[in-house]
Amino acid sequence: MKIDHSLPLEYSTEENRLKIFGFWIFLGAEIMLFATLFTSYFVYENRSGNGPTGAEIFELSPVLMETILLLASSFTIGLGIHAMRLGKQKAMMSFFAVTLVLGLGFLGFEIFEFTTYIHEGAGLSTSGFTSMLLTTLGTHGLHVTLGFFWGLFIILQVKKRGLTPETANKSFIFSLYWHFLDVVWIFIFSFIYLKGMM
């Protein structure tokens, strides 16, 4: 592999550049996936049948906590990549670890939120609205869960192998993914929760 030292580590080989480009295309597909979910959500927004409506079950405080945690994690992973560019492996790993802990916190609140919904009679099979709500949130949550493990493995690899073009590339791609989940969450927060509570 030819390594081009004039570029940041994660871009330094041909293979790395291909992977980053390919991942952007993948994110394009992910945008379509969530766009489909949002479109469908708007269809079901008011189709709550005999079940509860959004206004009846949404609560601001857990959602706000989730938002803060996830936004903060997007910030810390940005710091992690910055540290990586400076070649500070320790700092980078700590920022990544903080990111994952914040992600775990987000998931904790989300699980709490889901159990409350189910207690309040808004289960997966209650109505078109609840099916769609839980599917949309669940798809995002599943992405965060997978991201958690993915990030964990990347930290382990950086620890074992150091900052190589390969590990830097993986870390960078992972950060793109994590930012993307944050963007999706902002849409969820605005168009599902805020809109639903108004």
Partner: protein, 648 residues
């Protein structure tokens, strides 16, 4: 015993038991055969673990041809049932299953892998690359498609086939009306194959944007590569919709969600909408590469460069954008109102304009060309008029007011076969004949090939033109029989005969392969058609690394210009070449996907969880794996090159 009851076929018949036995025997024969000839090692090393785009392409081809015959048998059964009024060959349930699997198999498991074969085999060679951007991912794509297809195909002997049409509309496909596991197969098998397709899309977009030979600008790419690029872009935008849709359908059937339920806030119309938001772009995913192949074939055998290169590209871009804004033309009659219908009528008709531009460009390419009627060219020449007919009836269907008469009749069935057979299938078979020598080093017999084309066209006209007429007279599609009083009998008999002739033409194709394997001359050189693009510039058979030296490109038809002006496109000396390593992981992971899909279909939860963990385990393994590929040393390349040059 209860546990095993679910695997029984709900509506058994002699035919199904016979095919069970046949499938069982074939599987045993294949396994015994491989063991007897000691081919396991070869199979594993050279095929199951390969990441070479050419081999993956050939595996797509084999799957597509197998599925063509599976779908073809379905088709003959359908036409035989309708050949005479009040026929009792198939009962209604069986008929429903056959037309449903026919549609899915032909579009998703025949046409899709066929174009994937061309993407895989042709695109890297055409742009002068050594492989695709992500060879390992490419193998995963193939194996996921393959396992999805296999899963779908076992449905008719284990548990029952889907019976709600290839469109699988709810509420018909819901648990209330489709009680067997058939529709589970639909949701899950297509999901698995679809993920593979999405990965292919990502892979080829990256390949085409980032791995072109030095000097090849975007506007100098061969037309097939352009069509592949656009088609893959549509894949990346359209397939996620299918992913979501199938997930929702699966949850409705397995977890009692209320997405498409009649009450409880469900919306069955959302299925129809989302299905066609994916479904209409899907037909363009199929037809654009077909257009690309015809462009290559027509300019090669008219011995002229393609007329209107820029407008060809522009029209494809316009078509791809428009294809996302026409979906409601598939259900004008479902009550969305005059305004929405008018909008979708107009967008649909507008799509015919760029399509027309392409037709005229081909005609202008032929104009003053020195046309040579080879078999691939003959396919193209039959394509032009027949496809135009299909486009015209498409525009008829696009008139929303008139569509109340045509919708869900045989007229519609005639329309889409009229675009798909002369459009997609002719391109696939013409392209196959065209690229056959590049793959296998000998040509298919021209005489038998031309007979095949003529028989296919005669069969096609007899099989489908009558359907336009009976459709206008009101013969509904998807009805397993009709009474004598309707008067549809004679024309349906003609259609059956036409279908029979088409079957003969496909048999002839198989015979041609057999005949040419035995008798075709082998010393045909690298460029038997006197063609124009880079794939013909390298050796036949193509070496593992495709090009020993990277080609230098300065024009659209690099190879042609090089031949005419005598300049060298392979400048520079041979260096060691980096190649990806083979891997068993894609195959193994896809096998686990198969088990996962199967256990989901039959709601065997423990197995589903175990196999899901297996899939995740494969991903983790991949993440930690160190795989830097290998280098082919200069001596080895030089040796291969001398050998191949000598073979000419």
């Amino acid at each position: 015993m209860d546990f095993f009851d679910r695997f029984a076929v709900p509506h058994p018949s002699f035919l199904i038991y016979a095919s069970m036995v046949a499938i069982g025997l074939t599987v045993i024969a294949v396994l015994v055969g491989i063991t007897y000839f000691k081919k396991w090692d070869y199979l594993w090393r050279e095929w199951l673990t390969t990441v070479d785009h050419k081999r993956i392409g050939i595996m797509y081809l084999i799957s597509a041809l197998l599925m063509l015959f599976r779908g073809g048998v379905d088709a003959i059964m359908l036409r035989a049932q309708l050949a005479i009024p009040d026929n009792k060959l198939l009962e209604s349930q069986h008929y429903n299953e056959v037309f449903s699997t026919h549609g899915v198999v032909m579009i998703l498991f025949m046409a899709m892998p066929f174009i994937m074969f061309f993407f895989n085999f042709v695109v890297p060679l055409q742009i002068g690359a050594r492989d695709v951007a992500f060879p390992r991912l490419n193998a995963i794509s193939f194996w996921l498609f393959f396992m999805g297809a296999m899963l779908f195909n076992i449905s008719f002997v284990i548990g029952g086939s889907p019976d709600a049409g290839w469109t699988s509309y709810f509420p018909l496909a819901g648990n209330d009306f489709s009680t067997s596991v058939g529709s589970n197969y639909y949701m899950i098998a297509i999901q698995i194959a679809g993920i593979g397709t999405l990965m292919t899309g990502i892979n080829f977009i990256t390949t085409i944007f980032k791995m072109r030979a030095p000097g090849m600008k975007l506007m100098q790419m061969p037309m097939f590569t352009w069509s592949a690029l656009i088609s893959n872009l549509i894949i990346v935008f359209a397939f996620p919709v299918l992913t979501v849709l199938l997930a929702m359908g699966t949850m409705d059937r397995l977890f009692d969600t209320k997405f498409f339920a009649i009450g409880d806030g469900g919306s069955d119309m959302l299925w129809a909408n989302l299905f066609w938001v994916w479904g209409h772009p899907e037909v363009y995913i199929l037809i654009l590469p077909a257009f690309g192949l015809f462009s290559e074939i027509i300019s090669t055998f008219a011995r002229r460069n393609l007329y209107g290169y820029k407008s060809m590209v522009a029209s494809m871009v316009v078509i791809s954008a428009f294809s996302f804004f026409v979906w409601a033309h598939h259900f004008f009659t479902m009550g969305q109102g005059a305004l929405a219908n008018s909008f979708f009528s107009i967008t649909t008709m507008a799509i015919a304009v760029p399509t027309g531009v392409k037709i005229f460009n081909w005609l202008f390419t032929l104009w003053k060309g020195k046309i040579e009627f080879t078999t691939p060219m003959l396919y193209a020449m039959h394509f032009l008029p027949l496809f135009t007919l299909g486009g015209v009836t498409g525009v008829m269907l696009a008139m929303s007011a008139a569509d109340y008469q045509y919708h869900n009749t045989m007229f519609l069935v005639a329309h889409f076969h009229n675009v798909i057979i002369p459009g997609v299938v002719y391109a696939m078979l013409g392209g196959l004949t065209y690229y056959w020598p590049k793959m296998f080093g000998f040509m298919l017999n021209e005489r038998i090939g031309k007979w095949t084309v003529w028989l296919m066209s005669i069969g096609f006209v007899l099989a489908f033109i009558p359907m336009y007429i009976t459709g206008l007279d009101g013969q509904a599609r998807r009805m397993y029989t009709y009474s004598e009083a309707t008067g549809f009998g004679p024309l349906n008999m003609v259609a059956f005969i036409g279908a029979g002739i088409m079957a003969i033409s496909f048999a002839l194709l198989v015979y041609n392969i057999y005949y040419s394997v035995r008798y075709s001359p082998r010393n045909i050189g690298n460029d038997p058609w006197n063609a124009r693009t880079l794939e013909w510039a390298t050796h036949t058979p193509v070496p593992e690394y495709n090009f020993a030296v990277m080609p230098q490109v300065k024009s659209t038809e690099a190879f042609w210009d090089a031949k005419k002006n005598g300049h060298e496109i392979f400048k520079g000396k041979i260096e060691k070449i980096h190649m990806p390593n083979s891997s068993g992981l894609p195959f193994i992971m896809s096998c686990i996907f198969f088990v996962f899909g199967f256990s989901m279909i039959f709601s065997i939860w423990p197995l589903a969880i175990i196999s899901l963990l297996g899939i995740l385990g494969c991903l983790v393994y991949r993440s930690f794996e160190k795989d830097h590929g290998h280098y082919i040393p200069v001596e080895e390349i030089e040796e291969t090159e001398t050998k191949l040059r000598g073979a000419k």
